[in-house]
């Protein structure tokens, strides 16, 4: 019996919003005090001022508070997977903080993320099936031990890669969480609804400080943590006793960060021959849009818009009968392909006109 607890939803949404609103200035001050700041020395960086990190640490504190609150106030909606999420989330935040302060190679981060994914698999995130985009399920059996970590690490890194402009990652996570909430609400997945409301409240609170011009960055600690919560939340609720990875909907919702990750991976593969696979570059989607002459706010709003459109497609995909799912998937693929082609066309046009100037 899954009647939606509206009051609980309001408390979680507004509570996480308020907590983030209060905690971000505190951690901003701590970051300044400890000199945990981002200096605009790297050519890939867009900002011109010194900006403190640690803006993402309140997400972690908020999540611990959220789990405690659910356990105390509404234990019927608590999930056995919440505690493992806290443990793994703690390790991810510790890793992210180390990366923010001292730097850490992408390879090491990826290895740790995959190891944590395996830990999660054996700690309650035992998925055995993948929901077929056209209806039905693929039973993946033991292969799930590989699929689960790659899925979680994929979403985690997708959010981290999107964290390149003021307000971009937080805004995209907000839009993704909103669409996941709508889908989970329709299918009575209350635990997922609660997690998404937590993400929505936290990111909205954070955007008050992080939207252009940002006064604080979430850092890898925040971006990795948000991505981890988003990725693992898709595995929290089970369908009739079977944990199912519903790949199609999250992949459409997260289309922007996923495309960026795939394109980044492709570029890294090209650089691999020079031994620079794990070295970052300035060719992320947002960088390319900036190079076309758009302002930071325009780029962020444009990516919000595309993400919102994809989210609506994902919602429609979750509503329509399976026989129409194929059309939605083709539509989404065509929209993505069209977007990439238009971007490349405009880029080539800009390159051609640049020498004339």
């Amino acid at each position: 019996m899954n009647r939606h607890p509206s009051l609980l939803y309001l408390i979680v949404g507004f509570g996480s919003f308020g907590l983030t609103l209060v905690l971000v200035p505190v951690f901003r001050a701590i970051a300044r005090k400890l000199d945990i700041v981002d200096r605009p020395s790297d050519p890939r960086k867009v900002h011109k001022r010194i900006i403190p990190y640690l803006g993402g640490v309140p997400f972690y504190f908020g999540f611990l508070a959220f789990v405690l609150f659910i356990e105390w106030y509404a234990p019927q909606y608590s999930q056995p997977t919440f505690y493992p999420m806290c443990v793994v989330g703690t390790i991810i935040v510790l890793m992210g903080l180390f990366d923010d302060i001292c730097d850490m190679s992408s390879l090491k981060k990826l290895i740790i993320e995959l190891a944590l994914g395996v830990l999660l698999y054996y700690w309650g995130f035992k998925t055995t099936a993948i929901a077929h985009p056209l209806g039905g399920m693929w039973h993946v059996g033991w292969l799930a031990v590989f699929i689960t970590p790659f899925w979680i690490a994929g979403v985690t890194n997708a959010v981290n890669f999107a964290d390149g402009l003021d307000g971009l990652a937080a805004g995209l996570v907000f839009i993704c969480a909103l669409s996941f909430f709508a889908i989970a609400h329709r299918t009575n997945q209350i635990a997922v609804c609660l997690l998404m409301l937590f993400l929505m409240g936290s990111t909205l609170g954070f955007l008050q400080y992080n939207f252009h011009p940002a006064s604080v960055f979430m850092g890898d600690a925040g971006a990795l943590f948000l991505g981890f919560i988003l990725g693992s939340a898709t595995l929290v609720q089970q369908q009739k006793g079977i944990a199912v990875i519903a790949l199609a909907v999250p992949m459409i919702v997260l289309a922007i960060p996923f495309i960026d990750t795939v394109l980044s991976f492709q570029r890294r593969l090209q650089r691999a021959r020079e031994g620079r696979f794990f070295i970052g570059d300035r060719d992320h989607l947002h960088h390319r849009l900036l190079d076309l002459g758009l302002s930071q706010t325009q780029v962020v709003l444009a990516l919000y818009y595309v993400s919102a459109c994809m989210s609506m497609l994902a919602y429609i995909l979750s509503v329509v009968p399976p026989r129409y799912s194929f059309l939605i998937l083709v539509l989404a693929a065509m929209a993505i392909l069209f977007g990439v082609l238009v971007l490349r066309f405009i880029e080539s046009l800009a390159k051609r006109t640049a020498p004339e100037k």
């Binding site: 019996m1 400890l34 890939r44 405690l68 356990e71 935040v93 992080n210 940002a214 890898d220």
Partner: protein
């Protein structure tokens, strides 16, 4: 916005890393110190963990409370295995009281059913032979008893053996293993005496591959459609006056349709209910209230609210429209048998005045 600054290594800063790691670790330690006591408190009150809770009470020297807790859990959930029944009998014996013979008999039967498959039928027969006092069914056999005994046998892999048992032995199996049985025609505490024999069986989850069975005055009905199945019987004539299957798993509209059907049923009529697979997903307050009007009562406690969670897996009830909540006969079986969730349960009302055999 993060630096993602591989290749432009930051100067390692040990102090800020250590400070932040200590902050995060301290927060996690504080979280654990609050979370685990709260979690244990909730787990102790989880209806599924009544055995652990009873054992904890016993270890704390509160034997009366432990017995009450175990008895309540057994009566609520009808565990289909010997362990809790044996434990309860042993505790009552140790206290010097006369152990409830029904619990002992059920324990003996389940112990026999837990034996190796090749000797299971023989062990059950021997257990039944050891309790000759239980044969208290005067008059002719009620149609449906044999069918229900076979259905029970399907769950334990002894369908053929149960089918071959004499009627008196089949009757004992149902009496001790199957749920709520009335042998004087009275329907629970409603004060109504049924003019006809009523038998209703719910078979548990869909994977049990059994249907829901009704027998009204010897006439059998079967349903294999998912949801809550209801049959209305005139309390004076014993005539069937209506029926319906409502797929409450699928939508709230179905719950609304059932509310209307319950409202249309005449005051004082007998309502016979059984779940096939699942009927709790879209249970509404209005439907819970309407079922309460037939004397059904919220059974399982979820969080801090009693709910009719029993309308999932195996759930059967016989009530009378206009009676007080809790007055109806109601039985529920959420436990696993042979990896299937819920073995069949039944509510059985047999008239006291029976035709001669």
């Amino acid at each position: 916005m993060t630096s993602e600054a591989e290749g432009t290594a930051k100067t390692p800063k040990t102090r800020p890393v250590l400070v932040m790691w200590v902050v995060i670790t301290a927060a996690f330690v504080v979280f654990n110190s609050i979370y685990w006591p709260a979690h244990k408190y909730q787990q102790d009150r989880d209806p599924e963990r009544y055995q652990e809770h009873a054992r904890a009470l016993k270890d704390a020297g509160q034997t009366d409370a432990a017995i009450a807790c175990l008895r309540a859990g057994i009566d609520e959930r009808h565990p289909p295995y010997a362990e809790p029944l044996e434990l309860l009998s042993a505790w009552i014996d140790a206290q010097g009281g006369a152990a409830d013979s029904d619990y002992k008999k059920r324990a003996a039967l389940y112990e026999a059913l837990e034996s190796a498959p090749e000797s299971r039928a023989k062990q059950v027969a021997e257990a039944l032979d050891a309790m000759p006092d239980a044969i208290v069914l005067p008059g002719a056999a009620a149609p449906g008893i044999a069918q229900l005994a076979v259905n029970l046998g399907i769950s334990f892999g002894t369908a053929n053996e149960f089918a071959a048992l004499p009627f008196t032995r089949q009757w004992m199996l149902l009496k001790y293993l199957y749920g709520d049985v009335s042998m004087d025609g009275r329907i629970g505490k409603t004060g109504v005496v049924s003019p006809v024999d009523l038998l209703v069986q719910s078979a548990g989850g869909e994977e049990s591959k059994q249907t829901t069975h009704f027998f009204v005055a010897g006439q059998g009905f079967a349903n294999n459609r998912r949801g809550l199945c209801a049959i209305f019987v005139d309390a004076k004539s014993g005539q069937l006056i209506g029926s319906g299957v409502f797929d409450i798993w699928a939508s709230e509209d179905e719950a609304g349709r059932m509310v209307q059907a319950l409202a249309k049923a005449p005051q004082g009529c007998i309502g016979v209910f059984a779940v096939h697979d699942e009927a709790s997903e879209n249970m509404t307050d209005a439907l819970e209230k309407a079922l309460g009007g037939f004397g059904l009562a919220p059974r399982a406690i979820v969080g801090r609210r009693p709910m009719l969670y029993g309308t999932r897996y195996a759930f059967a009830a016989i009530g009378v429209k206009g009676s007080a909540p809790g007055a109806a006969m109601q039985t529920w079986m959420p436990e696993h048998v042979d990896v299937h969730r819920g073995h069949p349960v039944a509510c059985i009302v047999l008239r006291a005045e029976r035709p001669k055999p």
